[in-house]
Subunit: 120 residues, 3 copies
């Protein structure tokens, strides 16, 4: 832990996922909440089939979910979320004709049943 998932809709093809993930990981390291940079595992997935709401106007989203071990305070979690959103906001510009929503959610993962091993 932590595990970070970034999803972005296919109508935002100019998103540089390599840059995005590296910046997000740097923000997590800078938070001081995680013991080793090595523990941060992040991935980006392009979503080809999607629908925002029910209207037909062009819309898209970039959605980040950060799964982290349970036990951190509400204040820390809020700060983490806002720091990741700030990274997403810096990634633009977005297409002018697409309404884009950026979001960050945090998900507590049960600490006692998390298992991990590192190899090599």
């Amino acid at each position: 832990m932590p595990h970070l998932h970034l999803e972005y809709t296919a109508n935002l093809p100019e998103l540089d996922t390599d840059k995005a993930l590296l910046r997000l990981n740097h923000a997590l390291v800078a938070s001081g909440q995680f013991g080793a940079e090595f523990d941060i595992k992040s991935r980006a997935v392009k979503v080809e089939s999607f629908r925002v709401g029910t209207a037909m106007s062009p819309r898209g989203f970039v959605a980040v979910r950060l799964a982290l071990l349970s036990g951190r305070s509400p204040q820390i979690k809020k700060q983490l979320s806002e720091s990741l959103l700030a990274v997403l906001q810096d990634l633009g510009a977005w297409p002018a004709d697409v309404q884009v929503q950026l979001s960050v959610e945090l998900l507590d993962i049960d600490r006692d049943s998390y298992s991990k091993v590192a190899i090599g």
Copy 2:
């Protein structure tokens, strides 16, 4: 929020994901639980590599996860889940030789650490 994920196995290729997502979003709007249709962000993903159980007979699934901000009552959540399952049931017919499981799960997302911004 909410965020909806639909997964379907590759042996159900006749699933019309555009139609499915639009109907699911309409069901969420109709629930009256979400302030703006614009907030509903849904995506569908085809699963190419999968296994149901341990038997070798043809099986598949359509699995919906609805992530929504914490705080709603058990009764409301149960109604939301059942309304989404009803949409999935209306999407058939499914292949006659595949045992298909349809499921809907709800996942509470911590309200205090959810961050969002809309652009454009």
Copy 3:
């Protein structure tokens, strides 16, 4: 339920996902925690865009998330997690030049709002 997700990074191409999912499902059946083998729904996804930490050395991961209905004891959940990790550890060998992390997380899904139907 349960639903199992396996993600693996694209620099671990020798992972045999068919074998992995079948073994993971057998481990879940063997746990005695699930009423019918038919209920176990598992999938594997290759992650093409990823970043582990902030260093540039070759790194990868195999991450399993098991979503199961709420109500099981911490002891049972810890045993499930460890049995799945043991399966992952048996899947190697991994590339000698990649630092690989194997992990298993468990996620409780609200039992009351879970809806399911089986067809065929």
